[in-house]
């Protein structure tokens, strides 16, 4: 046995030193490296788990808040739409009223214009008739050279003019 150990180069002292050295390193690594890091893994895992849960809760809260905001925005939009519709309706009513007033005013102006025209026309006719009468008197007095009294003269002229107007009116129509 001793010869075999010698042939293999085994020396109990060196063997023991190596084994003790290994066991010391093993205990150091177990206690200060693996133990510490494993514990840190656990802590880190718990921390990450807690943070993930907190993030999930925050996300839920945010989603709820977003839903509330969307709901409120929808309400505001609905209100705005209603108000715009009301405003449009009011504006249309105002426009219709203004149009009606404008139309009425225009009709009034047109009617007044027509009356004015009629009046002017009548006035012009009277003037024409007077001038024609004077002209006719003058003409007739020169032709028949006889004096007629003013009243007879006037009646005669009016009669002529009436006939002339009637004839003219018949000619136009």
């Amino acid at each position: 046995m001793g010869a075999i150990l010698e042939q293999l180069g085994i020396e109990p002292n060196l063997l023991l030193m190596m084994a003790v050295g290994f066991l010391i390193v093993y205990f150091i690594l177990k206690k200060f490296v693996f133990g510490r890091v494993s514990q840190m893994f656990e802590e880190r895992s718990q921390t990450i788990q807690q943070q993930l849960e907190a993030a999930a809760q925050q996300r839920l809260a945010m989603e709820k808040m977003r839903d509330d905001y969307e709901q409120r925005i929808a309400q505001i939009e609905e209100e705005a739409r209603t108000r715009i519709a009301e405003a449009v309706k009011e504006a249309q009513a105002a426009r219709d009223e203004m149009l009606a007033q404008a139309r009425e005013q225009a009709e009034r102006i047109v009617a007044r214009g027509k009356e004015e025209i009629e009046r002017e026309k009548h006035k012009a006719l009277v003037e024409i008739r007077d001038q024609v009468a004077e002209l006719a008197i003058l003409t007739a007095s020169k032709i028949i050279e006889r004096e007629l009294d003013e009243h007879t003269h006037r009646e005669l002229i009016d009669d002529v003019i009436e006939k002339a107007i009637v004839r003219r009116g018949n000619g136009q129509h």
Binding site: L14, G21, V25, K30, V37
Partner: protein, 281 residues
């Protein structure tokens, strides 16, 4: 070195040449003349302690910060630890991350030990029987302790005997068959762990050593530096990783097998696959 060793009747596993760490190992009494009058250099122990102290320092410094968003060394240490936790959970089952310190320590130490052989002027501690046997015995004791702690001493013996307490009465002969087989299997574990790692790393380092010597001889002959050892050094990084993985996976499987109510079929499948892995690598 082998012929030299055979000539002197010495172990081939005893370092015949020193490293630049001899300035540390010599004052510590790790370099001495054996009974054949040849120098024995145990620089590997200095390398081993330097590596183990380095791992412990990096681990402790890297795990001191507790930022929620890890950066730099903290990120690296946490990443590695998370990998070990997942690795143990997959092999051992639910709650297996409790054993991540054991498996992770074995992996980190063996991987760094293996890589040391690829650093010029250094030596792999795992190319020495004492280192691999010490690691294998530690693995054996730790798995045995876990088995006894989880099952109780009687439960552990019952476990080794094929759980006769859970078998029908006519299976009384089962413990007679199972107990010796399981005991041999149990005792073979540290031996297989030790020599698998030793053989792979020692062989790899020897080949690199010989190829480096060949490169030196070639340089003397043709004055052209040809690094013959370089491809094998690159391959050595891979085998360093694989051997550390095999060792730590087997430790995880041994832990899984020693736990009560575990899916042994699953763990046995892993074990058989890994027993054959070194032959491929």
């Amino acid at each position: 070195m082998a012929e030299h060793a055979a000539h002197h009747g010495r172990s081939v596993f005893i370092g015949g040449s020193g490293t630049w760490l001899e300035i540390v190992s010599r004052p510590l009494g790790l370099c001495y003349k054996d009974k054949h009058g040849a120098w024995v250099h145990n620089d590997w122990l200095v390398v081993a302690f330097a590596v183990m102290i380095g791992i412990a320092v990096v681990g402790v410094v890297g795990s001191r910060r507790r930022d929620l968003v890890p950066r730099g060394l903290q990120n690296g240490v946490e990443w590695v630890i998370e990998i070990f936790r997942g690795f143990c959970r997959r092999i051992i089952g639910e709650g297996g991350e409790r054993y991540a310190p054991v498996v992770g320590t074995f992996f980190a130490i063996i991987f760094c030990f293996n890589l040391m052989g690829l650093v010029p002027g250094m030596i792999s501690p795992t190319a020495n029987t004492n280192a691999t046997l010490a690691l294998a015995l530690c693995a054996f004791v730790i798995t045995l302790y876990i088995g006894i702690r989880e099952n109780g001493i009687l439960g552990f013996i019952d476990h080794l005997a094929g759980s006769p307490s859970r078998q029908p009465w006519f299976m009384w002969w089962l413990p007679i068959l199972m107990l010796p087989i399981e005991l041999i299997s149990l005792l073979a574990r540290p031996v297989s762990l030790c020599f698998r790692l030793l053989g792979n790393i020692f062989g790899e380092d020897m080949v690199i050593h010989k190829l480096a010597q060949m490169a030196v001889n070639a340089f003397h002959a043709i004055y052209v530096p040809i690094p013959f050892q370089l491809p094998l050094m690159i391959f050595g990084m891979f085998t360093s990783f694989v051997q550390a993985l095999v060792f730590s996976t087997l430790v995880a499987i041994y832990i899984a097998l020693s736990l009560p109510h575990h899916d042994h079929e699953h763990a046995h499948g892993h074990e058989h696959a890994l027993e054959h892995a070194p032959a491929h690598s």
